[in-house]
């Protein structure tokens, strides 16, 4: 895959940008299994391997379960390991996701978000990564191709930080981001290598002079203690996410935080939304601002760990908030981001009204008019202080 760059810029799809970032990171091992819409990541990376552009060993496994199993074996052996998947592939990995995080292995996975069956559907929603939200993986969400590229490079540093030692999942929207071409700024190979640094695992199965036993059985005497340490590690990884973003900004000028606020500071009503649909929502915010409505947006970038304090701080003065989820918890009480955000706001002195709106499942379009309709509802809620419908599906 030849990438044509003009002044450091190139027109790339999300998948190509991810594959290119992987080429620049040059991991030791990449176990992978193809699945729509992330297939092109692996295809393009395979061509980098075939052309000798990387020194990575590619393992074309026979399933995603084996992909994550091989990631675990390779990471336990001290290799820097990356893979990519979507939807059913992530679902099939589910068992192994918990083992990767429980064993504190800094594996990097790109999840190109796609709906889960049934009915079978290849298009975007966040059911796959939301299904893995309690698996102990750090989750970074990406609005654009640029952010997906930048997130993947930062993910390596976050995962391998010695205070973290956890796997990281970088999420971007299937087709919308993975297949759309965007003009993005690429780093040079040297810049990427300089940023991620060389990985030297502290404990490895290949150190035969110091044999280690990994994955031992743990009974009630100590299981909870391992989980406690893991819980502490993912909670403090938030600081590492910020530290790595700071260094990234210092070196390359692009700024990232735990979330993005768009015209949020003085907003009275706000939509909270992940990934590409934030772009659509920003257009709606601009249109409504022209009409004098104090609308704003908050787009979480870090969803795991959930930065509940920072999000509550950013939203505590709003009158009404709609959390738009591209996944349903099937709990009869709204989407996953809604549930957590509403809980995060419980302790603020003057709780805003918070409603759940589920949109875009299985790739259903989410348009500017849909965002505007939600803002109109929020306006009424803000004015009356009354919530008519706490949760509902939109775009249907």
């Amino acid at each position: 895959m030849a990438i044509t760059m003009t002044k450091g810029q190139a027109g790339l799809t999300g998948n190509s940008a991810i594959a290119y970032a992987m080429k620049q990171i040059n991991p030791d091992v990449c176990p992978a299994y193809p699945i729509t819409p992330s297939t092109a990541v692996i295809e393009e990376f395979a061509s980098y391997v075939a052309d000798g552009a990387v020194t990575t060993e590619l393992i074309t496994v026979e399933s995603e379960h084996s992909a994550m199993s091989a990631c675990i074996g390779a990471a336990a052996a001290g290799a820097r390991v990356m893979t990519a998947t979507s939807s059913q592939g992530l679902a099939l990995m589910w068992e192994m996701l918990y083992i990767a995080s429980g064993m504190r292995l800094p594996i990097i996975l790109t999840d190109v978000n796609r709906a889960l069956s049934a009915p079978i559907n290849i298009h975007c929603d966040h059911s796959d990564s939301m299904g893995a939200r309690d698996s102990g993986w750090i989750q970074l969400y990406s609005e654009t191709v640029q952010e997906a590229y930048d997130n993947l490079i930062q993910a390596v540093r976050i995962a391998e930080d010695e205070t973290v030692q956890l796997p990281v999942m970088v999420c971007l929207d299937g087709f919308i981001t993975s297949h759309a071409i965007e003009n993005i700024t690429l780093l040079s190979d040297e810049e990427v290598q300089g940023f991620v640094g060389e990985y030297n695992a502290k404990t490895t199965l290949l150190d035969i002079d110091h044999p280690v036993t990994m994955g031992a059985m743990s009974l009630p005497e100590n299981y909870i203690d391992f989980k406690f340490q893991q819980s502490e590690a993912i909670a403090r990884s938030k600081d590492t996410v910020l530290k790595v973003a700071e260094d990234f900004e210092k070196r390359f000028g692009r700024k990232y935080g735990l979330f993005e606020g768009y015209r949020l500071e003085d907003a009275e009503i706000a939509i909270v939304i992940l990934n590409s649909a934030a772009g659509t929502t920003k257009v709606a915010v601009d249109e409504l601002r022209k009409k004098g409505l104090k609308a704003g947006l908050l787009r979480p970038r870090l969803f795991r760990p959930f930065p509940f304090k920072e999000l509550a701080e950013a939203l505590k003065d709003k009158k009404a908030i709609a959390v738009l989820d591209r996944a349903d918890s099937m709990n009869g009480f709204g989407g996953p981001v809604f549930n957590e955000l509403r809980s995060a706001l419980y302790d603020v002195p003057k709780r805003p009204k918070v409603v759940s709106r589920i949109y875009g499942l299985g790739g259903r379009d989410y348009k500017v008019k849909d965002a505007i309709a939600v803002f109109e509802e929020l306006k009424t809620i803000a004015e009356t202080g009354m919530v008519d419908t706490l949760q509902k599906y939109i775009t249907i």
């Binding site: 030791d28 091992v29 176990p31 020194t55 990575t56 060993e57 393992i59 074309t60 496994v61 026979e62 399933s63 379960h65 084996s66 992909a67 199993s69 091989a70 990631c71 675990i72 074996g73 390779a74 990471a75 336990a76 052996a77 001290g78 290799a79 390991v81 068992e95 192994m96 083992i99 064993m103 030297n200 490895t204 199965l205 290949l206 150190d207 035969i208 002079d209 110091h210 044999p211 280690v212 036993t213 990994m214 994955g215 031992a216 059985m217 743990s218 009974l219 100590n222």
Partner: protein, 311 residues
């Protein structure tokens, strides 16, 4: 091949003090295989007796690098380890320098014949350099003797109980060794711990040969077979002498029977002492016993027909 005396002087790589049952076939099998490696090795184990019995935290019986991750993925896990080894070797990043390391995946029959078959097939096809060793005790013994596809004909297990209407497991066992051989890997063999010399020679060969190799080893289980711990090796021997568990190898496609009993013993002699076949000895079940014997005879004849031939 090393003599018994030489083998006895080597360090134990799986220490005593583990929690596997008295009379379990697994520890002697693992110790013989690790000794046959004759050099540094790393291993993974599928969830099961061997994993549970050797590593309850904070203890470990393993003196080699070892990992367990899940049940169905020993072959995929070892694929990752072996690939990381090649990747880091290429970059000159192996701890302690450039050394040859042997990789072994251990799994029971449940973890290999059943839930781990896909991962095993994938790893064999991809040609990783490792030995997969299946210890076949004929059921999911770790979780309380449930039927697997390796369970013998008519065996009484907790999920194929010998009941009033159905007399135990109704299906013939899966011929995993031949399924593995169909992947055209360089080496596959069946062995039994009663014949340490045959087992050691096969393990040595399997670990010397480049590419994926496979061993399927009979592993007596006093718990699931309802036998006395002190008799395990005797019943392992009888499984071979009755030709229920033939010892053979397939090297570069040539099948060779490595042991032919001088006198083929009646199957009943092997079944009789095992509680799992108790119901077969009732007079009304004579036809089942005959059916079992006929099938063993047929399979043995099939093997004899292939002896020395390219398959």
């Amino acid at each position: 091949m090393a003599t018994l005396k030489e083998l006895s002087k080597q360090n134990e790589l799986l220490t005593g003090g583990h929690r596997l049952c008295s009379g379990c076939g697994i520890p002697p099998i693992v110790r013989l295989v690790l000794r046959a490696a004759g050099g540094p090795g790393g291993a993974t184990t599928a969830t099961g007796c061997l994993e549970v019995g050797t590593t309850i935290y904070p203890y470990t019986a393993w003196r080699i690098p070892w990992i367990h991750s899940a049940f169905e993925n020993a072959a995929a896990t070892i694929s990752g380890i072996e690939t990381a080894y090649r990747a880091l070797k290429k970059k000159g990043k192996l701890p302690g320098g450039d050394r040859d390391i042997k990789f072994i995946a251990f799994g029971g029959d449940g973890g290999t014949y059943d839930i781990g078959l896909q991962a095993l097939s994938g790893a064999l096809e991809r040609g990783h350099n490792f030995l997969y060793l299946c210890y076949d005790n004929g059921a999911y013994m770790n979780t309380g003797i449930q039927r697997s596809s390796a369970t013998p004909f008519f065996s009484n297990t907790t999920t194929s109980p010998a009941g009033e209407a159905i007399p135990g497991k109704q299906e013939w066992r899966k011929d995993l060794t031949r399924i593995v051989a169909a992947h055209k890997i360089p080496y596959a063999a069946q062995a039994s711990p009663h014949n340490w010399a045959d087992l050691s020679r096969k393990a040595e060969k399997a670990l010397r040969i480049q590419g994926p190799t496979f061993m399927n080893v009979m592993s007596p289980c006093p718990l699931g077979w309802y036998t006395k711990p002190e008799d395990s090796i005797k019943w392992a021997k009888l499984s071979v002498d009755t030709c229920y568990w033939p010892l053979y190898e397939i090297e570069d496609g040539i099948l060779k029977i490595t042991y032919k009993p001088k006198e083929k013993k009646p199957l009943e002699e092997w079944l009789k002492p095992q509680g799992r076949f108790k119901h077969l000895l009732k007079p009304e079940n004579r036809n089942l016993l005959d059916k079992f014997q006929a099938r063993v005879d047929l399979e043995w004849q099939r093997l004899l027909d292939l002896d020395g031939k390219r398959i």
